[in-house]
């Protein structure tokens, strides 16, 4: 009965109700987007870091992995120290650099990862095989397209370019053995990977026995935090970071987006709330006579309050449901904008849909709908019956 009455009131002014639902839908879409933004990038980054099971990373002192051009010296000693730790499982040193590949008359420059192919955590082979020999190389799809090379081809590559002498520290003929999907690379980035020792030798003296990063997987059952503390104690000249530490750093750097999400989410909620409050208040003002007649014939105040609150909730829920679909579409569009950040890994997303985000948005809007009905329902329920009846009759 209450629902029918609320529906009758709302359908009396269809245009107005439809517009209110549309307004709430846009607010709900924005709210969902902002809830997704505030949690999505964190979840996406964590998933990206955990994808190959490496829980710890070692970077040059005072830096984050691949944040600068700095490298870790004496990597062999560092690896030896790490191997002596019983809880350390897999160790994968990684060196970053550039290879210049001669293709016909032109040279193609590609970002290069030097890593031990058997334990690396940077790429997955899509076609072909892992590098087995020192001169084997795997490349991204974009690199193969840009150079026209295929698996089995050989290529002439150089590294360690000295801009002042216009010379390279090392040249080699490499064999393309596989096509790989690189996990941490930006979309469209030209990238190849060779064994660590190959890149160290090609880059010359500045890279000998050096690495940009060392990735570590703890043994099954070992405490990652305990391993982290052991590394910090044994290797004071490097920075060891766990996934949680890296997340904290990312949280700091991307705090702008989280705060923006919070502010815009709050504004969306406030706009939806104001819209519904205005609409329900005007609706109550228009039918003061009707409300006091109901009270005069014995309808309880609680039922009147409930009916008016139901009107607000109905608009909010209808708007929220249509807004959720709209929110998913706009989130996709906004994500495509933010994903074009230079150097951002292609697998990283800012807007990630999780069911709890939708429930949170719906819950917040429902609460806002209930609150939106509080003032008009209080006004409707507290009207003096006789005075209002007389005023309405005169009007």
């Amino acid at each position: 009965m209450l629902l029918r009455l609320a529906w009758a009131t709302l359908s009396r002014h269809r245009t107005r109700t439809l517009l209110a639902i549309l307004g709430v839908a846009v607010s709900a879409a924005m709210l969902l987007d902002m809830v997704m933004l505030s949690t999505g990038m964190r979840a996406s980054f964590k998933e990206l870091l955990s994808i190959r099971g490496f829980q710890l990373r070692i970077a040059p002192k005072g830096t984050m992995p691949f944040d600068t051009d700095a490298t870790i010296p004496d990597v062999s000693d560092v690896v030896r120290t790490l191997r002596a730790m019983p809880d350390v499982g897999t160790i994968s040193p990684v060196l970053g650099g550039q290879l210049h590949v001669q293709v016909g008359e032109r040279a193609v420059t590609a970002a290069t990862i030097g890593a031990d192919p058997t334990v690396q955590g940077d790429y997955e082979i899509v076609e072909g095989r892992l590098p087995g020999a020192p001169n084997d190389v795997v490349a991204s799809e974009d690199f193969l397209t840009a150079t026209g090379l295929r698996i089995g081809d050989t290529l002439s590559a150089a590294a360690g370019y000295d801009a002042q002498l216009r010379s390279f520290a090392g040249r080699r003929t490499l064999t393309m053995v596989g096509r790989a999907h690189f996990l941490y690379m930006a979309a469209g980035q030209l990238i190849v990977s060779v064994p660590l020792s190959t890149l160290q030798e090609m880059q010359g003296s500045r890279s000998l026995d050096r690495a940009s990063l060392i990735m570590i997987r703890a043994r099954d059952g070992a405490s990652v935090d305990a391993v982290l503390e052991q590394i910090k104690a044994a290797l004071p000249r490097v920075s060891a970071v766990s996934i949680e530490t890296a997340m904290l750093q990312v949280d700091k750097r991307l705090s702008y987006f989280r705060q923006l999400a919070f502010i815009l989410g709050a504004v969306s909620l406030a706009v939806g709330f104001l819209l519904v409050t205005t609409l329900v208040t005007v609706s109550v003002n228009e039918r003061l006579g009707e409300i006091v007649v109901m009270r005069a014939i014995g309808v309880a105040r609680q039922r009147i309050v409930l009916q008016i609150v139901l009107e607000g909730v109905a608009i909010m829920v209808a708007g929220a449901l249509s807004g959720l679909a709209l929110g998913l579409v706009t989130a996709r569009y906004l994500d495509s904008i933010l994903s074009s950040f230079p150097g951002l890994p292609a697998a990283m997303h800012f807007f990630v849909f999780e069911a709890r985000d939708a429930w949170m948005a719906l819950g917040l809007l429902t609460v806002a709908g209930i609150l939106a009905g509080v003032y008009p329902s209080w006004r409707g329920a507290s009207l003096p019956i006789a005075v209002t009846l007389r005023e309405e009759a005169v009007a």
Partner: protein, 292 residues
């Protein structure tokens, strides 16, 4: 390379010790980031030991100045510390030899930059000249993405505002349907009523946008205060410029007028009696009176 420089040991001392060895070259000075000074509690005149590797052999320097960061957007999210050293001092410290990463070259007039670049590139061996503006475009690609994101959010906000405004105008007009019905029964033309509603809408939009400008300005001050504190930078994060005010006010006026026009059209198309009673009157087809 400069970024990779590690400030390995920062050792503030109260006084210098007396040394019996023959006098050596007095320690050099350096300027440090005021954020580093605040975090490490370093004062002017403090002695520091700098080294290029953690725990490596260091060079003793005295802090002679604090440097405030420039408003550079490309550095805003990076919580790095910076130190400013003499060129030869840094080259020696990091074993860089007689090399630099880049030169900044000034030209007498902005127009001379192109010819200077041509001359440099023609004579250069191992380096290349770029216009500062081109480098700025490259380094600000991140902010181009953020700007596109803000624009997209702006469009969504405008859509929501338009719907909100239309809704409010409909409500305002609906509230006055009896007055309008009376006016129409008195013979006031529909055009005058539409005009009146639109003037009212324009007034509402003007007052609303005026309040919005004030609110926006206050919000911008709060945002700048907050983010300048968070990122410790003099950068302005939100700016209320005359152009932005003009765009916001004109947009809200246009939206208000459109909303007022649509609401007024709805009002004048409804028969006055329906407006008065609030009930839809049955449409009886006109039948001519029977002739005798």
């Amino acid at each position: 390379m400069i970024i990779a420089l590690l400030v390995a040991a920062l050792i503030p001392t109260i006084s210098q010790t007396i040394d019996s060895t023959p006098p050596r070259r007095s320690p050099r000075t350096l300027a440090i980031d005021e954020r580093l000074a605040a975090d490490a509690k370093i004062l002017i005149g403090d002695r520091l030991v700098l080294s290029s590797t953690p725990g490596g052999v260091g060079d003793t320097v005295f802090v002679s100045a604090f440097v405030r960061r420039r408003a550079d957007p490309s550095e805003v999210a990076r919580a790095e510390y910076r130190v400013r050293m003499h060129l030869d001092q840094l080259q020696t410290l990091i074993g860089y030899g007689d090399r630099v990463d880049r030169f900044a070259v000034g030209t007498p007039t902005p127009g001379a930059a192109d010819s200077a670049i041509r001359l440099i590139n023609a004579a250069a061996f191992g380096f290349q000249g770029f216009r500062s503006r081109d480098i700025a475009v490259q380094t600000s690609r991140t902010f181009a993405v953020v700007t596109r994101f803000h624009r997209a959010i702006g469009v969504i906000t405008i859509v929501a505002s338009a719907i909100f405004l239309l809704c409010i105008m409909l409500l305002k007009v609906d509230e006055r349907r009896r007055d309008v019905a009376a006016l129409r029964l008195l013979g006031i033309s529909s055009r005058s009523i539409v005009r009146g509603v639109m003037v009212e809408a324009a007034l509402m939009a003007s007052i609303g946008s005026g309040a919005g400008v004030v609110l926006g300005w206050v919000a911008a001050q709060i945002i700048n205060w907050h983010y300048r504190g968070v990122y410790r930078t003099p950068l302005a994060f939100a700016l209320v410029t005359p152009g932005i005010v003009a765009l916001a006010v004109s947009l809200s006026l246009v939206l208000g007028l459109i909303a007022g026009f649509l609401a007024a059209q709805r009002l004048v198309r409804t028969p006055p009696l329906e407006l008065l009673t609030g009930r839809r009157e049955p449409r009886v087809p006109f039948e001519p009176a029977p002739t005798a």
